[in-house]
């Protein structure tokens, strides 16, 4: 644990209670949709998030992710999603994926008319390309994370999200 995690851990205690406190805190558990075409990276991000008390759903590409979010098919498009109906609190996606990229997924989410557009989207990439990073941030990405991911990255992410929520 790094020393800057102190203020975060108290925030985390409040928001992300364990099973001992039955105050309906189940709905306060972060549900993350993790999108990555690389199996090993999916396993890693899933474990990182679970160890950080998140519920995790993984998708191996952007299309599957959109399907999960209810945007798969134009005909199935669900309008008027309220916050309670939002399936996920966070989307974390790889940038480089075959077919639809993470950037395109980001834009699709942010172009939504429903509350889905409020869901933070974090972009991951193995490449540190400033123009790419800026492009993602400019299109509404919450954060950009450099791969390979570590525990401290997820802790930073949670702090960032907590600060944004309050």
């Amino acid at each position: 644990m790094n020393s800057s995690g102190d203020s975060c851990s108290s925030l985390l205690e409040v928001a992300f209670d364990d099973d001992h406190h039955h105050h309906g805190h189940a709905d306060r558990e972060l549900h993350v949709l993790a999108v990555d075409d690389n199996l090993i990276d999916r396993k890693l991000v899933e474990r990182l998030l679970k160890i950080s008390s998140c519920k995790v759903t993984t998708a191996e590409n952007a299309l599957r992710a959109l399907e999960y979010l209810g945007l798969g098919d134009q005909n199935q498009h669900i309008d008027a999603l309220t916050n309670n109906d939002l399936k996920v609190n966070l989307i974390i996606t790889d940038y480089c994926m075959p077919g639809m990229t993470g950037f395109e997924l980001l834009k699709k989410v942010k172009q939504e008319s429903s509350n889905l557009k409020e869901v933070p989207v974090v972009i991951m990439s193995s490449e540190n390309i400033p123009t790419r990073i800026n492009k993602c941030l400019a299109s509404g990405a919450q954060m950009f994370m450099q791969k390979p991911l570590k525990l401290s990255d997820v802790e930073k992410l949670k702090c960032h999200l907590m600060n944004c929520r309050s």
Binding site: N38, L39, I40, D41, K43, L44, R47, L48, I51, C96, P98, S126, K147, P148, L149, K150, L151
Partner: protein, 157 residues
């Protein structure tokens, strides 16, 4: 529990681990991976590296097919394979494998088939070497546990 045996095994484990880092087989990301293992997920590292090695074998096979015919190389496929391999190796801390991938990508970018074939051979060698080394490491872990000991935290620095 034979404390002397456990202590010897633990020492062996520590030394072996340190040597893997010193020889460049592993980097800090492997340390990060070990942090994710606990009583609830005691086999996390072994599971992930196993997936990684399976992935290596498959990607290498696919790339060798793409590189087979001198007159008909699918560099796009090779590039995609190298990208995957570089990503995975980076994520598990397989330093030597990752470094070969960097050279491999360069050969691919300039469509150097001979260079690609050399890199392919090298990456095949490196992943297999690492697989053997990690198997030895995991065996030591098992021996420690079976002797009633605990796996030591290894400080690489």
């Amino acid at each position: 529990m034979n404390t002397i045996v456990v202590a010897q095994l633990q020492r062996q484990f520590q030394d072996y681990m340190v040597s893997l880092y010193q020889q460049g087989y592993l980097d800090n990301q492997f340390t990060e991976l070990r942090k994710l293992q606990d009583e609830g997920s005691p086999d996390f590292v072994a599971e992930v590296v196993s997936l990684f090695f399976d992935d290596c074998a498959k990607l290498i096979n696919d790339m060798s097919i793409s590189l087979e015919r001198p007159d008909h190389v699918d560099f796009k496929q090779v590039d995609s394979g190298v990208h995957q391999l570089k990503g995975s190796s980076s994520s598990v801390g397989a330093r030597r494998v990752k470094n070969v991938c960097i050279a491999f990508k360069e050969c691919c970018d300039v469509q150097n088939r001979e260079g690609c074939l050399r890199c392919l051979q090298q990456v095949d060698y490196e992943y297999k070497m690492l697989k053997t080394k990690l198997q030895d490491l995991f065996n030591l872990e098992q021996q420690i546990l079976q002797a009633g000991g605990t796996i030591p935290q290894v400080d690489i620095n």
